[in-house]
């Protein structure tokens, strides 16, 4: 399988747990050339010795708090949107035979 051929993108999609149709995979393959050209613009920039920037504001905003119950959900609320449930459990198809 050649890189950047439609099959390559289908394999990537499979790892992400969704499928691409033949047309969708071909569209991504066709557009990927432009994207790679855009990504190459990063190569022009010397980042030697530069630290990654993960968040825009690097001051500490998290902290330790008292171990007290704060916002909670009831079981009913937590499971209100479950597609399938039985008692207090999510139901799926069998994992083992």
């Amino acid at each position: 399988m050649k890189q950047y051929e439609p099959e390559y993108f289908k394999t990537l999609a499979k790892q992400l747990r969704f499928s691409l149709s033949d047309t969708e995979a071909k569209d991504i393959a066709d557009e990927f050339g432009i994207l790679l050209d855009q990504m190459r613009l990063l190569d022009k920039i010397d980042t030697e010795g530069v630290l990654e920037m993960v968040y825009p504001i690097e001051a500490e905003t998290s902290f330790m708090r008292e171990d007290e119950i704060g916002h909670t959900f009831t079981v009913e609320e937590a499971m209100a949107n479950a597609p399938r449930k039985a008692k207090d459990h999510f139901v799926t198809v069998k994992v083992v035979g």
Binding site: R17, L35, M39, E52, M53, P56, I57, R84
Partner: protein
């Protein structure tokens, strides 16, 4: 009509139902609403509280990625097409406490991942100034509901200009404060290091009031800033004496439409007349050209991780399969639109072990250099301005722009710097070209929302374009 007019001219009951009626009346043309919200329970609650809230009786709209307890919250995606939120986002609690009345949830690009509003599960949102043109996105539904006179305020979210660009296309104010200024607790995420809560109003004074309502530390959002909320509206001051405004010349050089440039130059002349010192600022062209790919890599990689919990097993729309893997694959294939799946593939590509240094970490390093260059520019001025887009809202199917041109890479995408850096950034109306609105963008130093609003007010007074409404017949 601004907030004060609403309070004077309408009782909350009348205002809410008039807005709801109007939202329904324009829906056939704009397609901006995902869900209408019956305001009666909220109106009954309002009768029990003092009518002194900053937004008492103001009808509002929320982008449909804001969790609202007991109300459908889809984030514009089929996979959340049946998702009823079980709690309110912090901003919903704050808006309720201020007396606002929710009348609708608005359309967005799926999970906020787009700039056109063409990828919403409910279909495109149309521009009220020309129904053959796009609203812009991703907060397109909110933008057009403010622009068309349905509500005077709507929440959006801005990950890469998703409020400030549609504000330009629809002739309204779009404000993204400093990263962390407004809590994101309860907002369905796109890319956590770039996501901001932002909003639309029709004038700068209402934007100042809205920020007072929405801002403030929230322990439920680890990125929330622990800074006081200032009386932004009372302190508004449009006096430009002693103010230094920088024109971002890289953006102007990338715009080739003479009318847009002429409008912008006209504004600059007026700002000078009002006492501002105007200076030209040139940023590093290579860094500005790298904004879009840097954004694409970081945002899509973060989105790929953030949305891995959408599997159809615990919530959302589930499709059948013979095993758990197949259930997830079938649910995600049916639940995600074509554009989103493409973006997830790109995000995953950037996160592959062999690409992490070359792409993902490289992009994070380039982000730092872009932010340092922006901060250097901002250290010399009170604010940086440029047209918010290279042109008016495009036609729905317009793909004519060369994606390697400076017009595309810089003029259409420079506002992403506000997301990289977290700096406050606002778009206000600049003028009209052939009857279509164009906005001007202003970005200021971190935490300095007051200067952002002050300069925006000066621009609004110079253009005379406040409270613009485009009625949709």
């Amino acid at each position: 009509m601004n907030f004060n007019d609403y309070k004077i001219k309408n009782d909350p009951q009348t205002a809410a139902y008039k807005a709801l009626e109007k939202a329904k009346a324009v829906q056939g043309k704009l397609n901006a609403v995902v869900s209408y919200v019956d305001p009666q329970a909220r109106l009954d609650e309002l009768k029990e509280i003092e009518p002194n809230g900053k937004m008492h009786g103001i009808p509002i709209v929320l982008k449909d990625n804001v969790n609202t307890k007991g109300i459908l919250t889809t984030a514009g995606s089929r996979i959340l097409g049946n998702y009823i939120a079980q709690y309110d986002a912090t901003i919903v609690e704050k808006l309720n406490a201020a007396g606002a009345v929710l009348i609708a949830k608005s359309s967005l690009d799926e999970f906020g991942m787009g700039g056109t509003n063409l990828s919403a599960a409910t279909g495109p949102v149309y521009n009220p100034y020309d129904l053959s043109r796009m609203s812009g996105g991703s907060s397109g539904g909110s933008a057009v509901l403010v622009a068309s006179g349905v509500v005077p305020f709507a929440i959006g979210s801005d990950t890469g200009d998703s409020v400030r660009k549609p504000a330009s296309f629809n002739g309204v104010v779009g404000f993204k404060p400093t990263y962390g200024r407004i809590s994101r607790y309860g907002i369905i995420p796109y890319a956590s290091s770039l996501d901001h809560v932002a909003f639309f109003t029709r004038n700068v004074a209402d934007a100042a009031t809205s920020l007072e309502v929405l801002a403030g530390r929230d322990d439920r959002d680890m990125t929330s800033l622990d800074l006081p909320v200032e009386p932004y509206r009372d302190r508004l001051n449009a006096d430009l004496a002693g103010k230094k405004i920088g024109i971002l010349t890289n953006v102007l050089d990338a715009i080739h439409d003479p009318e847009i440039l002429s409008m912008f130059n006209g504004l600059i002349a007026k700002l000078k007349e009002r006492g501002a010192e105007i200076v030209e600022i040139e940023m590093n062209q290579d860094l500005l050209s790298a904004i879009l790919p840097t954004y694409y890599i970081i945002a899509n990689a973060e989105a790929t991780a953030n949305h891995s919990n959408l599997d159809g097993l615990r919530f959302g729309v589930q499709k059948d399969g013979d095993d758990v893997d197949e259930v997830m694959t079938n649910s995600r294939t049916a639940g995600f639109g074509k554009l989103i799946r493409k973006r997830f593939v790109i995000g995953s590509y950037a996160l592959f072990v062999e690409n992490q240094d070359k792409l993902f970490r490289k992009a994070q390093k380039v982000r730092r250099l872009i932010v340092e260059d922006l901060k250097k520019a901002l250290s010399e001025v009170d604010g940086l301005i440029a047209p918010a887009a290279a042109n008016v809202a495009p036609k729905l199917n317009d793909t004519s722009l060369d994606q390697l041109s400076s017009t595309y890479l810089i003029a259409e995408n420079f506002m992403v710097m506000g997301n990289f850096s977290g700096c406050p950034s606002i778009t206000v109306p600049l003028g009209y070209k052939d009857g279509l609105p164009v906005g001007v963008n202003l970005t200021c130093n971190l935490y300095d929302e007051q200067t952002t609003l002050d300069l925006a007010l000066a621009i609004e007074q110079a253009t005379g374009l406040s409270d613009q409404i485009k009625e949709v017949a």
